[in-house]
Protein backbone atom coordinates (compact mmCIF):
# COMPACT_ATOMS: atom_id res chain seq x y z
CA UNK A 1 0.00 0.00 0.00
CA UNK A 2 1.40 3.37 -0.98
CA UNK A 3 1.87 6.18 1.51
CA UNK A 4 -1.13 8.53 1.04
CA UNK A 5 1.10 11.56 1.47
CA UNK A 6 3.38 10.27 -1.22
CA UNK A 7 0.44 9.82 -3.57
CA UNK A 8 -0.70 13.41 -3.03
CA UNK A 9 2.74 14.68 -3.98
CA UNK A 10 2.78 12.59 -7.14
CA UNK A 11 -0.71 13.59 -8.23
CA UNK A 12 0.13 17.25 -7.64
CA UNK A 13 3.16 16.80 -9.84
CA UNK A 14 1.19 15.06 -12.55
CA UNK A 15 1.96 17.70 -15.12
CA UNK A 16 5.68 17.66 -14.42
CA UNK A 17 7.74 16.91 -17.49
CA UNK A 18 9.98 13.84 -17.44
CA UNK A 19 12.00 12.83 -20.46
CA UNK A 20 11.17 9.44 -21.90
CA UNK A 21 14.16 7.09 -21.91
CA UNK A 22 14.15 6.85 -25.69
CA UNK A 23 11.98 9.71 -26.84
CA UNK A 24 11.05 13.33 -26.59
CA UNK A 25 7.54 13.32 -25.11
CA UNK A 26 6.94 14.04 -21.42
CA UNK A 27 6.15 11.15 -19.12
CA UNK A 28 3.19 11.40 -16.77
CA UNK A 29 3.89 10.39 -13.16
CA UNK A 30 0.22 10.58 -12.19
CA UNK A 31 -0.66 8.07 -14.90
CA UNK A 32 2.36 6.10 -13.76
CA UNK A 33 0.93 5.98 -10.26
CA UNK A 34 -2.30 4.46 -11.55
CA UNK A 35 -0.32 1.94 -13.59
CA UNK A 36 1.79 1.14 -10.54
CA UNK A 37 -1.29 0.40 -8.46
CA UNK A 38 -2.92 -1.81 -11.06
CA UNK A 39 0.09 -3.63 -12.50
CA UNK A 40 2.80 -3.58 -9.86
CA UNK A 41 0.65 -3.38 -6.74
CA UNK A 42 0.01 -7.09 -6.52
CA UNK A 43 3.61 -7.65 -5.47
CA UNK A 44 5.17 -4.26 -4.72
CA UNK A 45 4.69 -1.31 -2.39
CA UNK A 46 6.64 1.88 -2.02
CA UNK A 47 7.49 1.32 1.62
CA UNK A 48 7.07 -2.40 2.31
CA UNK A 49 8.81 -5.56 1.20
CA UNK A 50 6.04 -7.86 0.04
CA UNK A 51 6.19 -10.51 -2.69
CA UNK A 52 8.60 -8.06 -4.32
CA UNK A 53 10.95 -5.55 -2.69
CA UNK A 54 9.91 -2.02 -1.68
CA UNK A 55 10.51 0.74 -4.18
CA UNK A 56 11.32 3.85 -2.15
CA UNK A 57 14.80 4.98 -3.10
CA UNK A 58 14.88 2.78 -6.19
CA UNK A 59 16.61 5.25 -8.51
CA UNK A 60 20.34 5.08 -7.91
CA UNK A 61 20.16 1.86 -5.91
CA UNK A 62 22.04 -1.28 -6.87
CA UNK A 63 19.74 -4.15 -7.86
CA UNK A 64 19.30 -6.73 -5.12
CA UNK A 65 20.28 -4.43 -2.26
CA UNK A 66 17.10 -3.80 -0.24
CA UNK A 67 17.62 -4.94 3.34
CA UNK A 68 15.31 -7.68 4.53
CA UNK A 69 14.22 -8.89 1.10
CA UNK A 70 15.08 -12.43 -0.03
CA UNK A 71 16.47 -11.94 -3.54
CA UNK A 72 17.26 -14.58 -6.12
CA UNK A 73 20.90 -15.41 -6.65
CA UNK A 74 20.66 -13.72 -10.04
CA UNK A 75 19.74 -10.45 -8.36
CA UNK A 76 22.26 -10.72 -5.56
CA UNK A 77 25.03 -11.23 -8.11
CA UNK A 78 23.82 -8.49 -10.44
CA UNK A 79 25.83 -5.32 -10.97
CA UNK A 80 22.84 -3.40 -12.34
CA UNK A 81 22.20 0.03 -10.86
CA UNK A 82 18.67 1.35 -11.30
CA UNK A 83 18.33 4.47 -13.41
CA UNK A 84 15.82 5.42 -16.09
CA UNK A 85 17.62 3.43 -18.76
CA UNK A 86 18.13 0.24 -16.76
CA UNK A 87 14.57 0.40 -15.44
CA UNK A 88 13.25 0.76 -18.99
CA UNK A 89 15.24 -2.28 -20.11
CA UNK A 90 14.13 -4.22 -17.03
CA UNK A 91 10.45 -3.51 -17.51
CA UNK A 92 10.65 -4.26 -21.24
CA UNK A 93 12.32 -7.65 -20.75
CA UNK A 94 13.39 -8.64 -17.22
CA UNK A 95 15.08 -11.86 -18.28
CA UNK A 96 17.19 -10.08 -20.90
CA UNK A 97 18.61 -7.69 -18.31
CA UNK A 98 19.03 -10.10 -15.39
CA UNK A 99 18.92 -13.75 -16.52
CA UNK A 100 17.49 -15.98 -13.81
CA UNK A 101 15.32 -13.25 -12.31
CA UNK A 102 11.96 -14.22 -10.80
CA UNK A 103 9.64 -11.36 -11.77
CA UNK A 104 8.78 -12.50 -15.30
CA UNK A 105 6.30 -9.66 -15.72
CA UNK A 106 7.03 -7.22 -18.51
CA UNK A 107 5.54 -3.93 -19.68
CA UNK A 108 5.53 -3.88 -23.46
CA UNK A 109 4.35 -0.31 -24.10
CA UNK A 110 7.19 2.28 -23.98
CA UNK A 111 4.77 4.99 -22.84
CA UNK A 112 3.59 2.85 -19.93
CA UNK A 113 7.19 2.15 -18.93
CA UNK A 114 8.08 5.83 -19.08
CA UNK A 115 5.10 6.81 -16.94
CA UNK A 116 5.90 4.10 -14.37
CA UNK A 117 9.51 5.27 -14.20
CA UNK A 118 8.37 8.89 -13.84
CA UNK A 119 6.25 7.82 -10.87
CA UNK A 120 9.09 5.85 -9.30
CA UNK A 121 11.40 8.87 -9.54
CA UNK A 122 9.27 10.45 -6.82
CA UNK A 123 9.85 7.53 -4.48
CA UNK A 124 13.12 8.84 -3.13
Amino acid sequence: MSDPGFIVVVVAAGAAACTLPGGTAAADPARGEALYESRCGACHSIDSNRVGPRHRGLIGRRAGSVAGYDYSAAFRDSRVVWDEQTLDRWLADPEALIPGQRMNYSVSDPRDRADLIAFLRFAR
Binding site: M1, S38, C40, V51
Partner: protein
Protein backbone atom coordinates in the same frame (compact mmCIF):
# COMPACT_ATOMS: atom_id res chain seq x y z
CA UNK B 1 -22.37 4.66 1.44
CA UNK B 2 -21.45 1.01 1.26
CA UNK B 3 -23.94 -1.52 -0.01
CA UNK B 4 -23.42 -4.93 1.55
CA UNK B 5 -23.35 -7.75 -0.93
CA UNK B 6 -26.96 -8.82 -1.40
CA UNK B 7 -28.22 -12.33 -0.50
CA UNK B 8 -28.78 -13.27 -4.13
CA UNK B 9 -25.22 -12.44 -4.99
CA UNK B 10 -24.08 -14.40 -1.97
CA UNK B 11 -25.95 -17.47 -3.18
CA UNK B 12 -24.33 -17.06 -6.56
CA UNK B 13 -20.93 -16.73 -4.96
CA UNK B 14 -21.49 -19.79 -2.82
CA UNK B 15 -22.31 -21.80 -5.92
CA UNK B 16 -19.19 -20.51 -7.64
CA UNK B 17 -17.10 -21.88 -4.80
CA UNK B 18 -17.39 -25.32 -6.30
CA UNK B 19 -15.67 -24.16 -9.48
CA UNK B 20 -12.31 -23.33 -7.95
CA UNK B 21 -9.22 -25.27 -8.89
CA UNK B 22 -8.35 -28.30 -6.87
CA UNK B 23 -4.74 -29.27 -6.35
CA UNK B 24 -5.42 -32.48 -8.21
CA UNK B 25 -6.85 -30.61 -11.18
CA UNK B 26 -3.85 -28.38 -11.53
CA UNK B 27 -1.44 -31.22 -11.01
CA UNK B 28 -3.28 -33.09 -13.73
CA UNK B 29 -2.97 -30.09 -16.02
CA UNK B 30 0.71 -29.82 -15.29
CA UNK B 31 1.04 -33.50 -16.05
CA UNK B 32 -0.22 -32.85 -19.58
CA UNK B 33 2.84 -30.80 -20.41
CA UNK B 34 4.33 -31.51 -23.78
CA UNK B 35 7.58 -33.40 -23.87
CA UNK B 36 9.31 -30.35 -25.31
CA UNK B 37 8.37 -28.31 -22.27
CA UNK B 38 9.72 -30.76 -19.75
CA UNK B 39 13.38 -29.90 -19.75
CA UNK B 40 14.82 -29.09 -16.37
CA UNK B 41 15.48 -25.41 -17.06
CA UNK B 42 11.99 -24.85 -18.41
CA UNK B 43 10.37 -26.61 -15.46
CA UNK B 44 12.51 -24.60 -13.07
CA UNK B 45 11.49 -21.36 -14.76
CA UNK B 46 7.82 -22.27 -14.57
CA UNK B 47 8.22 -23.23 -10.92
CA UNK B 48 9.76 -19.81 -10.24
CA UNK B 49 6.77 -18.08 -11.81
CA UNK B 50 4.36 -20.23 -9.82
CA UNK B 51 6.28 -19.46 -6.63
CA UNK B 52 5.68 -15.74 -7.15
CA UNK B 53 2.02 -16.58 -7.62
CA UNK B 54 2.12 -18.60 -4.41
CA UNK B 55 3.50 -15.57 -2.60
CA UNK B 56 0.51 -13.59 -3.85
CA UNK B 57 -1.89 -16.25 -2.63
CA UNK B 58 -0.27 -16.38 0.82
CA UNK B 59 -0.66 -12.61 1.06
CA UNK B 60 -4.28 -12.69 -0.12
CA UNK B 61 -5.20 -15.37 2.42
CA UNK B 62 -3.68 -13.29 5.21
CA UNK B 63 -5.23 -10.06 3.96
CA UNK B 64 -8.68 -11.64 4.16
CA UNK B 65 -7.77 -13.04 7.57
CA UNK B 66 -6.87 -9.55 8.76
CA UNK B 67 -10.15 -8.25 7.38
CA UNK B 68 -12.18 -11.08 8.87
CA UNK B 69 -10.79 -10.65 12.36
CA UNK B 70 -10.82 -6.85 12.28
CA UNK B 71 -14.40 -6.61 13.45
CA UNK B 72 -15.01 -4.08 10.69
CA UNK B 73 -16.96 -6.32 8.30
CA UNK B 74 -20.74 -6.68 8.50
CA UNK B 75 -22.02 -10.24 8.49
CA UNK B 76 -22.96 -10.58 4.79
CA UNK B 77 -19.67 -9.05 3.68
CA UNK B 78 -17.74 -11.16 6.16
CA UNK B 79 -19.26 -14.30 4.63
CA UNK B 80 -18.07 -13.27 1.18
CA UNK B 81 -14.61 -12.41 2.49
CA UNK B 82 -14.33 -15.86 4.04
CA UNK B 83 -15.52 -17.43 0.78
CA UNK B 84 -12.91 -15.54 -1.22
CA UNK B 85 -10.26 -16.53 1.31
CA UNK B 86 -11.24 -20.17 0.74
CA UNK B 87 -10.71 -19.68 -3.00
CA UNK B 88 -7.22 -18.36 -2.33
CA UNK B 89 -6.52 -21.35 -0.08
CA UNK B 90 -7.51 -23.61 -2.97
CA UNK B 91 -5.20 -21.65 -5.26
CA UNK B 92 -2.41 -22.00 -2.70
CA UNK B 93 -2.85 -25.74 -2.42
CA UNK B 94 -2.95 -26.16 -6.18
CA UNK B 95 0.17 -24.07 -6.66
CA UNK B 96 2.10 -25.92 -3.95
CA UNK B 97 1.24 -29.26 -5.55
CA UNK B 98 2.31 -28.07 -8.97
CA UNK B 99 5.54 -26.44 -7.80
CA UNK B 100 6.51 -29.64 -6.03
CA UNK B 101 5.63 -31.66 -9.14
CA UNK B 102 7.99 -29.43 -11.10
CA UNK B 103 10.77 -30.07 -8.59
CA UNK B 104 10.60 -26.66 -6.97
CA UNK B 105 10.41 -25.68 -3.31
CA UNK B 106 7.21 -23.78 -2.47
CA UNK B 107 7.80 -20.40 -0.88
CA UNK B 108 6.81 -20.36 2.79
CA UNK B 109 3.99 -18.32 4.27
CA UNK B 110 5.05 -15.47 6.55
CA UNK B 111 3.45 -14.67 9.89
CA UNK B 112 0.14 -12.82 10.04
CA UNK B 113 1.94 -9.98 11.79
CA UNK B 114 4.38 -9.59 8.91
CA UNK B 115 1.52 -9.35 6.43
CA UNK B 116 -0.26 -6.87 8.70
CA UNK B 117 2.81 -4.66 8.74
CA UNK B 118 3.44 -4.88 5.00
CA UNK B 119 -0.21 -4.14 4.19
CA UNK B 120 -0.41 -1.41 6.84
CA UNK B 121 -3.39 -3.09 8.45
CA UNK B 122 -3.32 -0.46 11.21
CA UNK B 123 -4.74 2.04 8.69
CA UNK B 124 -7.95 0.02 8.19
CA UNK B 125 -10.66 1.90 10.05
CA UNK B 126 -13.94 0.75 8.50
CA UNK B 127 -15.47 -1.81 6.15
CA UNK B 128 -14.77 0.27 3.06
CA UNK B 129 -11.07 0.42 3.95
CA UNK B 130 -10.95 -3.37 4.15
CA UNK B 131 -12.81 -3.82 0.87
CA UNK B 132 -10.64 -1.25 -0.89
CA UNK B 133 -7.52 -3.11 0.23
CA UNK B 134 -8.99 -6.41 -0.94
CA UNK B 135 -10.06 -4.90 -4.27
CA UNK B 136 -6.60 -3.47 -4.86
CA UNK B 137 -4.94 -6.80 -4.14
CA UNK B 138 -7.41 -8.71 -6.31
CA UNK B 139 -6.94 -6.33 -9.24
CA UNK B 140 -3.20 -6.55 -8.87
CA UNK B 141 -3.36 -10.33 -8.78
CA UNK B 142 -5.56 -10.41 -11.88
CA UNK B 143 -3.07 -8.30 -13.79
CA UNK B 144 -0.12 -10.25 -12.44
CA UNK B 145 -1.54 -13.59 -13.53
CA UNK B 146 -2.45 -12.25 -16.95
CA UNK B 147 0.95 -10.60 -17.27
CA UNK B 148 3.00 -13.74 -16.68
CA UNK B 149 1.02 -15.96 -19.05
CA UNK B 150 3.43 -15.35 -21.97
CA UNK B 151 6.39 -16.31 -19.77
CA UNK B 152 5.30 -19.91 -19.14
CA UNK B 153 7.17 -22.59 -21.05
CA UNK B 154 4.33 -25.06 -20.51
CA UNK B 155 1.13 -23.88 -22.19
CA UNK B 156 -0.94 -25.91 -19.75
CA UNK B 157 0.41 -23.82 -16.90
CA UNK B 158 -0.42 -20.69 -18.88
CA UNK B 159 -3.99 -21.94 -18.95
CA UNK B 160 -3.89 -22.46 -15.19
CA UNK B 161 -2.71 -18.86 -14.76
CA UNK B 162 -5.63 -17.70 -16.89
CA UNK B 163 -8.06 -19.66 -14.72
CA UNK B 164 -6.55 -18.16 -11.57
CA UNK B 165 -6.89 -14.70 -13.14
CA UNK B 166 -10.54 -15.42 -13.82
CA UNK B 167 -11.14 -16.15 -10.13
CA UNK B 168 -9.35 -12.94 -9.10
CA UNK B 169 -11.37 -10.95 -11.63
CA UNK B 170 -14.57 -12.36 -10.18
CA UNK B 171 -13.40 -11.32 -6.71
CA UNK B 172 -12.49 -7.80 -7.88
CA UNK B 173 -15.82 -7.36 -9.67
CA UNK B 174 -17.77 -8.36 -6.57
CA UNK B 175 -15.72 -6.10 -4.30
CA UNK B 176 -16.02 -3.17 -6.70
CA UNK B 177 -19.78 -3.65 -6.75
CA UNK B 178 -19.94 -3.74 -2.96
CA UNK B 179 -17.97 -0.48 -2.89
CA UNK B 180 -20.37 1.11 -5.34
CA UNK B 181 -17.75 1.56 -8.03
CA UNK B 182 -18.88 1.69 -11.65
CA UNK B 183 -17.98 -1.10 -14.00
CA UNK B 184 -15.02 -0.36 -16.30
CA UNK B 185 -16.32 1.78 -19.15
CA UNK B 186 -13.89 0.33 -21.69
CA UNK B 187 -13.27 -3.24 -22.77
CA UNK B 188 -9.94 -5.01 -22.28
CA UNK B 189 -9.03 -3.14 -19.12
CA UNK B 190 -7.59 -6.17 -17.30
CA UNK B 191 -4.02 -7.17 -18.02
CA UNK B 192 -3.45 -4.15 -20.24
Amino acid sequence: MLNPVNPGRRRLLSASGTATLSAAAVTLLAGCASAAAKTGDMMSKDADILNVALGLEHEAINAYQLGAQSGLLLKPVLDVAVLFQSHHKSHRDALIATIEKLGGRPVAEKSLGEYAKALRAETLKNQADVLNLAARLELGATNAYLGVIPAFKDVNLAKVAARLAADETMHWTTLAGALGRPLPSAALTFGA
